[in-house]
């Protein structure tokens, strides 16, 4: 399959899933529209539209961020949701909102700051060309530190509801998101994802080695900063409105790369589309009750992603 056909197929799949998400329970929606068209319109525009749009944008940014990080660090386990930026973003958002009493914009800003700080710490600890073991260890350390700080911040928050929110920050959810939340997160998600996609040719050059890339005119420090900042921005904005949603950024590039000849740059756009499709599908799956309970989105992505992660580790060990 040519890259163009792959992108077209993924775009069609994503569009179909988005329509299905908006039209969830079509019989019920038609019944509401028949008795109260204004209410049906409100449900579509004020509840389902932000939910679906955030699934698409956050999924796309996680997919592109994972592909970019794996290309930059030349490591198959690099991704924003596994190596600390997600937990860092949640910590930043919690501090901004619960401790300093900031509003939604401040929470988004805190999320972005936390994610970027976690990524910078990861690079400082592991180095830009770290081996898998070092990278994973550094990521686990950062996640553990940020996770402990998150617990502490929520425990000491003025609101007694704060600790109940831990489930949301750890497992993520797109349920009952609002248009104002979409308006806050969408610009950062779009800008950050666009910045990542703009790195595709330079990432392909970097795959040939740093010396070759430099001889082709790639400014490697600038590329590194662009990917770190853009991934931090998208991770922070996504976590600020939806909590931590894990493993999408890890799985999707691995599914896509074999279809684009293993080129990290060529994998960026298909990874973004596949991430959008995966998260939208997962968000529909969590609306199906299991034993009467609705799963959190991050639980479902972890159930899919954790075995995949283990398989990658075992495959790496075998090599």
């Amino acid at each position: 399959m040519t890259p163009a056909r792959l992108i077209a197929a993924l775009a069609l799949l994503t569009a179909a899933l988005a329509m299905a998400s908006l039209a969830w329970d079509p019989a019920g929606l038609r019944a509401v529209a028949a008795r109260d068209p204004d209410l049906a319109r409100a449900i579509l525009l004020e509840l389902r539209l932000p939910r679906t749009a955030l699934a698409l944008l956050i999924g796309a940014s996680l997919g592109a961020g994972g592909a970019a990080m794996q290309g930059l660090l030349r490591n198959p386990l690099a991704s924003p949701d596994v190596l600390g930026p997600s937990t860092g973003a949640a910590l930043g958002a919690i501090l901004a909102g619960y401790q300093f009493g900031g509003g939604p914009l401040a929470i988004a800003g805190g999320g972005i700051t936390g994610a970027v700080a976690a990524l910078l710490l990861l690079l400082a600890l592991a180095g830009p060309a770290a081996g898998t073991a070092t990278l994973v260890l550094a990521g686990v350390a950062i996640s553990a530190l940020a996770g402990a700080a998150m617990n502490l911040a929520l425990s000491l928050a003025p609101s007694p509801y704060a600790l109940y929110d831990l489930m949301f920050w750890l497992f993520g959810s797109l349920a009952d998101r609002s248009l104002p939340q979409l308006a806050i997160a969408a610009p950062w998600l779009l800008l950050g994802t666009a910045a990542l996609l703009a790195c595709r040719h330079r990432l392909d050059s970097l795959a040939l080695g740093e010396d070759v890339a430099q001889s082709l005119g790639v400014d490697i420090p600038r590329l590194r900063w662009t990917i770190v900042i853009a991934t931090g921005v998208t991770t922070g904005a996504g976590v600020a409105v939806a909590g931590s949603i894990g493993f999408v950024g890890l799985i999707v590039p691995h599914l896509v790369r074999p279809l684009v000849g293993g080129r990290p740059g060529a994998a960026l756009l298909p990874s973004a589309l596949a991430g959008a499709a995966l998260l939208t599908a997962a968000d529909m799956a969590v609306r199906l009750p299991i034993a009467g309970e609705e799963l959190k989105l991050g639980v479902l992505t972890a159930l899919i992603g954790a075995p995949f992660f283990l398989a990658l580790v075992l495959r790496g060990r075998g090599q």
Partner: protein, 122 residues
């Protein structure tokens, strides 16, 4: 406390006591028993939670919203401020209740029940 609680009225109105995040009291717990003294019958809700879409599609006659430390940030409190809740039908009666009283379900709840009963009658 018995005076404030009053007898359970012969006729009760279907209601939903909802806290932040869409958590509901449930129709079989102590909160439901207390609500009956205010003339409200808590609806059975699967999974102990309602989504905003669920509230809009199947609105209760009376919605009792538990407010706990208003003005302090939490995702659960933000749920109660969701713009879509404006779309509840005009016929749904909305009454705010002090969430602190419902946390411990002790004697402090009785005056709140009396207040709810008066608000419903008014």
């Amino acid at each position: 406390m018995r005076r404030d609680l009053g007898p359970v009225p012969a006729q009760t109105t279907p209601a939903l006591l909802v806290a932040g995040g869409g958590f509901v009291a449930g129709d079989k717990g102590l909160s439901a028993v207390m609500l009956r003294h205010a003339g409200l019958a808590e609806q059975a809700t699967p999974r102990g939670r309602v989504s905003i879409e669920g509230l809009l599609l199947r609105p209760p006659r009376v919605l009792v919203i538990s407010r706990y430390h208003p003005g302090e940030t939490s995702a659960n409190a933000a749920w109660a401020e969701h713009p879509a809740l404006r779309r509840l039908p005009a016929g749904v009666r909305r009454i705010a209740t002090d969430g602190r009283r419902w946390t411990c379900l002790g004697p402090g709840l009785a005056p709140e029940i009396a207040r709810l009963r008066a608000a419903l009658a008014g």
